[in-house]
Amino acid sequence: MAQSTTERGDQLQVELVAADRTVWSGQATMVIARTTEGDVGVLRNHAPLLSLLVPGVVEISAVDGEDQVAAVDGGFLSVANNRVSILSEHAVLSHEIDVEQARADLESAEGDSESEDAEERVKRAEARIRAAEKAS
């Protein structure tokens, strides 16, 4: 059976990996992610690609079940032989996101302009909120 799924026409093997766990892995038809150069969509037979991601939303059109939306905080995307790996230190799927918490983080990060990582924290919180909104 595994053979037949890999040979079906339009699929990618996708792995979304955080530093301490595999967040999502499975077959998908399309992956959309935001790189430093802009949004990129990956379909089957995409040329091998290694690209840096910015904090943002990753969308995965899964073959079985619902489409997955995840928030990542940077990391990178690698595509080769119809395998897509998305690596990010912290990656969360939309249904795992605590929107209230993200909003609170956003507010505290915006309020605290002194610390140097405030901008980064703002971006991360925004990515999480966007992902949650997109999924709902």
Partner: protein, 303 residues
């Protein structure tokens, strides 16, 4: 008999309660070690993908990155020592510290000065007691390290490595941690972290699996810039996870032998207490018999 029966009973009691504590610690360590191993397993895909990507970039671009550049005349080396926060784990922390001393000796022999970075309260206490200088230390996570800690440590080490001048600047970075081989064997290991040797034996693509010709976005240099620090951090995270599993295994082993020893002690004390009790009884009987005899003798004499 030096002590009374009561005192022996008190000793047995205290040994028994100690045994309860060590037994509990043994069981806790045993249950946590499975979690620690699972965490290490869960972190494996990230490390694997990262290594793949790094070797892909290294293969298809002429890598000349500050993090991989060998300094011509290394003068200063940073050593990160990973120990535990708590004791009661047998020789776990002290064997890491010994390995670190050995490495330091070797580096000094090569004419390098050493900046020390520490993980875990045990190492901190060791260095503070000897009043040795420490550049930075991190504590409070030794049995369940999180990636954020690894990132922190990685950032400081990379900063020190990339710094050109000043007291903090180092030319190479070493890590001393305990590698978890099995439940019974954990060995302290020292590895050089920086400058990175990118082509490493562990993830070499086999001959039939040629690495694809990647396009890099925005450019190979930028990708490398983003990848290598993460690679370093993931290596540190790996070391922390291994150290955590080793610590728990060492603690389980130490606590098991402590429990066994307590058993032995209880047995020994029970025997001695019984002997003391018996001796007391014998003495009482002989006193009574002696008293009766003396009375009888006295009465016989008066008649």
């Amino acid at each position: 008999m030096a002590l009374s029966v009561r005192e022996y009973r008190a000793r047995i009691k205290s040994t028994e309660s100690m045994k309860k504590i060590t037994r509990a610690m043994e069981l806790i360590a045993a249950s946590r070690i499975i979690k620690a191993q699972n965490r290490a397993q869960a972190a494996a895909p990230y490390a694997r993908e990262l290594t793949r990507a790094v070797s892909a970039v290294a293969t298809y671009s002429n890598v000349d990155h500050p993090l991989t550049r060998e300094p011509e005349d290394p003068k200063r080396a940073a050593v990160l020592i990973v120990t535990s926060d708590r004791g009661l784990a047998g020789a776990y922390s002290s064997s890491v510290l010994k390995e670190a001393e050995r490495l330091a000796e070797k580096l000094r022999g090569e004419g390098k000065e050493i900046s020390t970075y520490l993980c875990g309260r045990k190492a901190e206490a060791y260095y503070r007691f000897r009043a040795r200088p420490v550049v930075q230390s991190w504590t409070g996570f030794s049995d369940q390290p999180s990636y954020d800690v690894a990132r922190d440590i990685g950032k400081s080490l990379i900063e020190a490595f990339l710094a050109e001048e000043g007291n903090e600047a180092v030319d190479e970075v070493h890590v001393v941690y305990t590698r978890f081989r099995s439940m019974l064997v954990q060995e302290p290991t020292a590895v050089r972290l920086l400058p990175l040797e990118v082509v490493e034996g562990e993830e070499k693509p086999s001959s039939d699996e040629v690495l694809p010709l990647y396009e890099f976005e925005p450019s190979a240099e930028h990708v490398l810039d983003g990848l290598l620090p993460q690679y370093v951090q993931s290596r540190i995270f790996f070391a922390l996870l291994q150290a955590a599993a080793s610590e728990l295994a060492a603690r389980q082993k130490a606590m098991k032998s402590a429990t066994d020893n307590a058993d032995e002690l209880i047995k020994k004390y029970t025997r001695i207490a019984n002997q003391a009790r018996q001796a007391g009884i014998t003495q009482e009987i002989s006193e009574i018999v002696g008293g009766v005899n003396a009375l009888a003798d006295a009465q016989a004499g008066s008649e």
